[in-house]
Symmetry: C2
Subunit: 126 residues, 2 copies
């Protein structure tokens, strides 16, 4: 009879296998939101107010429309940004961070704090 025991070889021994992935998954989710070549810059750009598509693209040198469109869609799916279409002619499209999107702020600040110390310690020294 096979018992569903914790395999101590597969996770740090203090954590059950379940606890281990339960710890991991949310951190990875958060990381996924922020990592990639453009996400951070796009989010940063939007923290300063709503922007139009081309306007964002102009602010971020090297960003192609393909990438911008892809990242904006992801932000939308995650409810971090909103897309608003105005019935002007020609049609106007604006993107804006949601309130929820703004809850990323403290997290980004933490990353900034740690990253700044790290730069001083490692990067400069190299």
């Amino acid at each position: 009879m096979e018992t569903v025991e914790h395999d101590k070889r597969k996770c740090p021994s203090h954590l059950s296998t379940g606890e281990c992935t339960k710890m991991l998954l949310p951190v990875k989710d958060a990381l996924d939101i922020l990592s990639g070549k453009w996400k951070l810059q796009i989010i940063l750009s939007l923290t300063f107010g709503k922007k139009r598509f081309k306007q964002i693209q102009r602010e971020i040198p090297g960003l192609t429309p393909k990438m911008l469109s892809k990242q904006l869609k992801e932000l939308e799916i995650n409810e971090l940004a909103e897309r608003r279409v105005y019935d002007t002619s020609p049609v106007t499209v604006e993107y804006e961070l949601t309130l929820y999107g703004r809850t990323l702020r403290p997290l980004i600040e933490e990353l900034h704090k740690w990253g700044t110390k790290h730069r001083k310690r490692i990067i400069a020294r190299k």
Copy 2:
């Protein structure tokens, strides 16, 4: 005569171009330390004490020696983990998080907090 003015089309208007990248680089550094498929799990594994190479590999299913070795080297370069070789026979190698490496903890906790809320809001709903 060309003045070296801030190009308002390239960065959010409140920030000078310099301020913009100065904000960005440290955040990216921090992100780089944590992103990738295995880094987080390896760091997590090491937070529970020193480990030997194969021991880490066994704890993390799917992790190949090539990847493990690569990630451990990066942790070393960034002074987040230390590699100790003991002159036993056969030779024993142990990896341990440095004190500095442990300063990642609060950052990871922030990611965990935000990620947990995000899971509740988005992932579950999908």
